[in-house]
Structures are given as structure tokens and as C-alpha cells.
Symmetry: C2
Subunit: 303 residues, 2 copies
């Protein structure tokens, strides 16, 4: 049984700009879940987000006069930063054969996302700071309800996992692989040249591509909430334990899921099932093993 | 033919705190050499240093109030930072199957190096700054001849490449592998726990371990000078084109090589030959392919 697990923020950090010690603690809990899956016979491919981590690197760059690294390089760095912590936690619990692979993901340079940078990254900036930056910014509201500006970058669709074949051959070898962190490093491929681009790719989209590439039986989205909810954020909010793809597609069209949070996860699950996947699961980070066993989370089948 | 190439500073950056663009340019030249080796039938494992890069990350931490990441995590980050750039350059020149692997290296927590931290890392500090730091510092002389302090960390011997088996299986697959950057992330393994330690491992030592692990035919040290010199730094300095291990061992004992620069490279070459390696080569970064063909650098044989 080949299983791809996407670790969202909650599976990796207690939130905010956490210390590495605090991140290790959170990752240990997640790794316990992954060990249980491994012991139940799952060959694991683990992907992960990198929002707070890439944010911290961008903030450090803002505060330092060391040569600035472009966003593609920073995303690669977070892959090893988080990959190392996850790999070490799995080494301790499973075996010493876990590998983290630096992963690039091909995007289309003509993707319309490049015309309209929309994904906020990095620290909050004052209007004055923003006007001095070479990058595009947009107005945002801080968690304290204040108005600020933040850098915005395009979020194009991922088309292909460049290292897909190597990830496939590593998981075929029977040990967990950590890959595609932060949605992968976005690159444009033109006439044989591969160029990193200043963008971020949605982690859930890329995870779905990885799942298809390694021919996964199950795709698991480990997230901040225990399952998908119908009518999320309304008084009628109810947990969905089981759903077919058509049922979920209908609710998606009706706008029942949180945009930017549950919505991309549900989309990725549906795309995985459309491409021939047997089962997709959305679960809380602390109940991944139970959810894969069918005892927690939302179970989604092609229908 | 299986060949391990260690890329020193000069193969990666034009020196100092270089921009990523400048590093890409330098890496492109090195990648041309590696492409020639690949075309000549070599299965490549590529390792690399990380001195200036980890220095820049440490400096950024000094200048920012974001939560500090420990040294093991920073070393991991530089593995992906540099690994990504090398991987991309090789993707363009060889095939799209290159993989960079986050690599840990086991060290002995009782290594005497831990009693005497000696390896300077990170930015220059004033005596006052140094006194406010939680880490150990030592007096150093800056490139301008001034007195300053720098953080010093232990540099223990590497005992085992934790991801050795995965690196071996990836190279058996016929595509280049980038690994063991910055000498690997040093970890202590005790009673099943793997813990990152605040230390740096010599890149040349770890490269030799990698070469043994993948049963390499040739070990190549790509460096800042075209070859090993007899009587280095004296008026009698002469290039060594060929040498047997016993000859080189004698010169090493006589202190003919630059401590901290050529000396660890020669030691690593000798250890590789002692462990059954057929040939070790020390070459300029711009002449790696010619050196492996026997037309440049220093050729070292068991004798």
C-alpha cells in the first residue's frame, strides 16, 4: 500500500514564528502517526508546507544586509530545514533509511497566475517600506486588525515534479521519502534551460501530482481540523465522515469550504480520485493513522 | 565507473558573500566539467562545501530577532541551497534525474574534538558582542589584519553517513546524486535517538566516507589550486603530477601541505586508497574532467 501524506502547518509547528525546539516537539507527534502507518504496511511519501518557515527566512533577509537570496532558493532551503527535522524524527521511529529530496516543480511561464501575483509571503511592511522594495506588494490586514502591506507572488499550477522518477524509485525501495516541501521549488523549463521563478506553488496541488506520479493508493491531507465540514463556518457546520467525489464536488461548487484552507485540499483530493486514485482522506494531524484506518477524518471515494 | 567529486569553495562561489547569481555562474562552469565526466561514462556522486553559505546564514541570524536556528539545521539548509543550484545546473546538462539528498553524518559524542571547539564559523564579533553570546568564541585575525572574535565549534570525525544506503541506491540508478553538503549534518546516535549537534564536520573527511560507502573507483577533490604542491608556500614549491600513497604520506608527515586547506584533502585521499580505492585525484575546479582523464591535477595511486 503506497500512501502519500501532506503535512500542513499544524503538523509541523505550534504556530507563529516557532523555535526549532518547538517545531521538533510538534513533528514528533506527527512522526508517531507516520510510524503507525509504516507499521500497518504503508510505504510513505511525505510532503509538507513551509509558510511560517519561508516567512522567517524572508524576514531575516529584510533585517540583514547579506546578499539577498531569491525566493526559489529560500523555498529549497526550507525543504531541507523541515525535511531534516521530519527525516530525523522518522529515522528514530522507522529506520535509518529515510531520505529528503530537494524537489523542483515545473510551472508554465504563461500561467495566468504570473499576471496577477496574489499569494502573500514574508513579513508585514509599512507603506513606506513597501514603496522601497523592488517586489510587488498588496494591502493586507494583520492579525491585530491593522492595515499593512506584504509582498505578493504568483501561485501558478504545478505541471510536473522534476524529481518524480527519483522519488518513485526511492519509495519503491521501501523506506519513507520526504519531498516536494512548500509545494516544490517552482521552475520554468524552456529550451532545455531550467530557471527558478519567484513564485510559490500550492502544497496541496503539488502533493496530488506527487501522489499520481508514485501511483499512490491513498492520499492523506493532514490539517488543522479533524475533517471536512459541510457548511463550514456557519451555524449548520457538520462534520463529513464519508463522501463520494461527486457529492464533494457539489459542495465545493456551492462554496461550502474555507477558501485558501480546506478548498485547495478538497480540490487536490478530487483531482487525485479523478486521476484514478482509490481513496483520499482529510484528517487532523494527530489522527492520521486512525483516519487512514477509516476511523477518523473524512473518507473520500470516487463514488 | 563510479566517481565521487568534492566541490570546494572555488567550484561554488567566486568568493566572499557572493550573490546567488554569481554562485550560479561559478557552478555553471563546474557543471560543465561534471557533464564531461558523465559523458565519459562516470556515475557521479557530488559533495560540496558550505563555508561562506553557512557563514551568511549565521550572520543573518545575528542581525535578526527571528527565532535562532541551531547550527545543525543551518547546515541542512545550506545542503538544499547549494544542492538545488548544483542539481539544476546538472539537470540542464545531463538529465532531469539528478537528486540532492539531505545528509546526516554520525559522529561520536565522546570525540575529543568536543572538548576543544576549534573551527571558526559565522561573522566576526567584537569582544563585547562575543561576551554576550551563549556560544564559545576565540580570537581571530580578520582579512584586514585586525583582531576580532568568532564563534568556534567542534569538528569531530565522521563515523557513518546515515543516508549512505539511499545514496548508494540512487547512484546505482545511473543519475548523479548531490549529497553530504558541508560535510553532512553532524548527529549523535544514542539508544535509538538521533540528535543534531552544534558542530561542523570536515567536508573532505565525509566525502571520503561517501566514496567508500558507494564503492567509488575514483575520488576527486576539486579545489582552488590546480594540483598538490611539494614544499607548498616555499620558494621550492613544485607541482606533483603523480604520487603513490606512501610518497604522499611521507610529505604529509613532513608538513609540506597547507594545514586546513590541502592537508585534509591529502588525508582524505590517502584514507580512500587505504580502504581499497584505486585512484584519488586533486584538481582545480576548472579542470576536473581533464584531471580524471589523467591530463591535469595530481594523480594518487595506492603504490
Amino acid at each position: 500500500m503506497r500512501t502519500v501524506v501532506a503535512l500542513g502547518g499544524n503538523a509541523l509547528t505550534p504556530g507563529g514564528e516557532a523555535t526549532i525546539a518547538d517545531q521538533r516537539e510538534r513533528i514528533a507527534e506527527t512522526a508517531d502517526e507516520l510510524r503507525d502507518l509504516h507499521e500497518a504496511g504503508h510505504d510513505l511519501v511525505v510532503t509538507h508546507g513551509n509558510g511560517p518557515q519561508v516567512g522567517a527566512l524572508l524576514r531575516q533577509q529584510e533585517e540583514s544586509d547579506a546578499p539577498e537570496r531569491p525566493l526559489d532558493v529560500l523555498v529549497a532551503e526550507t525543504q531541507a530545514q523541515i525535511g531534516y527535522l521530519v527525516q530525523q524524527a522518522l529515522d528514530e521511529r522507522i529506520d535509518r533509511r529515510v531520505a529528503s529530496v530537494v524537489t523542483q516543480v515545473e510551472v508554465d511561464p504563461d500561467d495566468s497566475a504570473f499576471d496577477e501575483p496574489s499569494k502573500p509571503v514574508g513579513p508585514y511592511l509599512s507603506a513606506e517600506q513597501a514603496s522601497q522594495r523592488a517586489f510587488e506588494t498588496a494591502e493586507v490586514t494583520t492579525s491585530e486588525g491593522e492595515t499593512a502591506r506584504r509582498r505578493v507572488v504568483p501561485s501558478p499550477e504545478p505541471a510536473r515534479v522534476v524529481e518524480g522518477e527519483r522519488i518513485d524509485s526511492l519509495v519503491a525501495d521501501g523506506a519513507p521519502v520526504v519531498c516536494a516541501g512548500g509545494g516544490g521549488v517552482p521552475v520554468a523549463v524552456e529550451a532545455g534551460d531550467i530557471t527558478g521563478v519567484e513564485a510559490v506553488v500550492d502544497k496541496d496541488c503539488t502533493t496530488r501530482l506527487v501522489a499520481e506520479r508514485v501511483d499512490a493508493d491513498v492520499l492523506v491531507m493532514a490539517t488543522d481540523v479533524p475533517c471536512v465540514y459541510a457548511d463550514f463556518g456557519t451555524p449548520e457546520q457538520t462534520p463529513i465522515e464519508e463522501a463520494t467525489a461527486p457529492e464533494l464536488r457539489e459542495r465545493l461548487a456551492a462554496g461550502e469550504f474555507g477558501e485558501g484552507s480546506m478548498e485547495p485540499k478538497v480540490r487536490a483530493c478530487l483531482a487525485f480520485l479523478d486521476a484514478g486514485g482509490e481513496r483520499a482522506v482529510v484528517a487532523g494531524a494527530d489522527a492520521v493513522a486512525a483516519a487512514v484506518a477509516g476511523d477518523a477524518g473524512t473518507q473520500i471515494r470516487p463514488g
